[in-house]
């Protein structure tokens, strides 16, 4: 149990000054701007938006700046800020089939309607340092590139046509053949559960699991997804599709009564395809795991889709022997803000608690020594 403490204001205020100094680093080095973080550390911003469960690139960049790049601390700032905002309502469900594709790959089909689009990916890089990035780009280089961009018109990419405006989601292609588990809204297309408003109970439904994983820790989900692949879960997945791009968010304000397009959000979606042997009721078919996250976050979306499938074990009558298959384990431990809070609270003063334990252990030892002494006294010959 934690007993509150008082006092220490002066010391605490002094830590604010010190943390500001540590955050700034060497004052001879120019200060980093929020816009620079937003534009040049976009993948870190995406992680902060996901784990902070709030889409706002500027705030994610600010959170990273304020937390000196500590992603979990940054997510905490996002969560805290979110609680100060009114909720206007819920969006229309996103339609990822209308995504403006920047990247889309499938490991199951070579020839896809719409094609395979590698987009901006590190997958085919050699992971060798680019030491040119050590050199700061001068203003002249920025100017010359901008004038080059301004001069170039539409013929800059003469060979490439635009991508198709809509691309079918890969599992829907298999679905048309009836070989894929169907994904349809339940009767009446109910409003989803919101774990920020209501307490979660178990077994948790899929909407709860997906919301929880979308805001869950990337590292934790990556580890769980990996465990499933290594045999602690027994799924044999293929990436049906990973797609990254922009999707419009639509919202129907009550006073207007029609859908307003609020702008685009960047999303990453992963459709994992798994084998299923079938059961008495269901013929053998492919089953699905789904991942959807803010920003360009493939590792997170893929991990989420692996764990989503693992958590469906019960639905398919499979044994749920491993951590990734157990919703209570996954959902209660994937939230890194909660986890960090509980782990890190251990460093706050626990003086009263510890004094109690100290006295207890002293008493037990005293009693033990007294008992041993009595036993020795009762058997004096054994001691000689």
């Amino acid at each position: 149990m934690y007993v509150a403490v008082k006092g220490g204001e002066a010391a605490i205020l002094a830590t604010y000054d010190l943390v500001a100094e540590a955050r700034r680093g060497d004052p001879a080095v120019p200060e980093i701007s929020v816009a620079q973080i937003r534009e040049q550390q976009a993948l870190a911003c995406a992680r902060v938006m996901n784990e902070g469960s709030l889409y706002d690139k500027d705030l994610a960049a600010l959170a990273l700046k304020q937390s000196q790049g500590d992603v979990i601390e940054a997510a905490f700032l996002m969560r805290a800020y979110r609680t100060t905002l009114p909720r206007f309502g819920s969006s229309q469900p996103l339609d990822t089939a209308t995504m403006a594709i920047r990247r889309r790959v499938s490991a199951t089909y070579k020839d896809l309607p719409g094609g395979q689009v590698l987009g901006p990916t590190y997958d085919y890089t050699h992971r060798l340092f680019d030491f040119e990035l050590m050199e700061e780009e001068g203003q002249s280089a920025i100017d010359s590139r901008q004038s080059e961009l301004a001069a170039a018109d539409d013929c800059r990419l003469p060979t490439a046509d635009c991508l198709d405006a809509t691309m079918p989601r890969v599992p829907d292609i298999l679905g048309a053949e009836g070989l894929m588990e169907t994904e349809e809204p339940p009767e009446g297309d109910p409003r989803p559960f919101d774990l920020t408003r209501d307490p979660v109970s178990f077994p948790a439904d899929r909407d709860v699991r997906l919301q929880s994983m979308a805001r869950g820790d990337e590292g934790f989900l990556l580890g769980l997804g990996y465990s499933v692949q290594r045999g602690f879960g027994g799924t044999h997945p293929f990436v049906g599709e990973v797609r990254v791009g922009e999707v419009a968010v639509e919202f129907v304000p009550e006073e207007l009564g029609f859908a307003v397009d609020l702008g685009d959000v960047t999303l990453t979606e992963c459709q994992m395809v798994n084998q299923f042997q079938g059961s008495k009721e269901v013929p053998p078919q492919f089953t699905r795991g789904y991942g959807l996250v803010f920003g360009h976050s493939e590792r997170k979306a893929m991990s989420m889709s692996l764990v989503d499938r693992a958590l469906k074990s019960r639905d398919f009558g499979e044994a749920a022997d491993y951590p990734a298959q157990q919703d209570e384990f996954v959902l209660y431990h994937s939230d890194n803000v909660e986890a960090a809070g509980f782990v890190e609270h251990l460093k706050l003063p626990h003086y009263v608690d510890f004094q109690g334990e100290l006295e207890l252990i002293r008493r037990i030892r005293r009693e033990r020594e007294e008992r041993l002494a009595q036993e020795r006294d009762a058997m004096p010959e054994a001691a000689e």
């Binding site: 070579k110 689009v117 987009g119 539409d154 990419l157 829907d172 809204p185 997906l210 919301q211 919202f251």
Partner: protein, 143 residues
């Protein structure tokens, strides 16, 4: 998705425009009353499991809204992602003015120009992505 009305289209364009672009288009601030001052809140963004299945809450997004009224009684609304209060008020004013304007009016044409610019940026991004289209060859194992 249903085809969009002209008003839905200009609201979508304004949501994606910068404050400067909207300010330039609107010109001098018309006389107006602010019915609902610019306010930032969130909208819970919903996805669907598998893309088409059960709805779930993906996470929230910041949204800023504003409502204005012109002296003729016409109300203008703005709803857009982000936290830009200045942009929200200017966009709401444009929404009000555009409702009273003919479809080939000056403001409507200005919005059409903005929309064309946004479409061009989208096309350019699409063609850059298309330049990375790939055909992998599958090698026969053990051959």
């Amino acid at each position: 998705m249903n085809p969009k009305t002209p008003r839905q289209q200009w609201m979508a364009t304004l949501a994606r425009a910068s404050r400067d672009e909207i300010a330039t288009l609107l010109g001098a601030l018309p006389e107006h009353e602010v019915l609902k001052a610019p306010e930032t809140g969130t909208v819970m963004v919903e996805g669907r499991a598998g893309g088409a299945g059960r709805r779930f809450n993906l996470g929230e997004a910041t949204v800023t809204r504003c409502v204005v009224r012109l002296p003729n009684g016409r109300m203008g609304f703005s709803y857009a992602l982000g936290r830009d209060h200045g942009k929200a008020r200017l966009a709401a004013l444009l929404d009000a003015r555009l409702q009273d304007e003919a479809t080939d009016g000056e403001l409507a044409q200005g919005v059409a120009t903005l929309a064309a610019r946004q479409a061009a940026a989208r096309d350019l991004a699409s063609r850059k992505a298309a330049a990375t289209k790939v055909d992998f060859f599958t090698l026969v194992r053990g051959a």
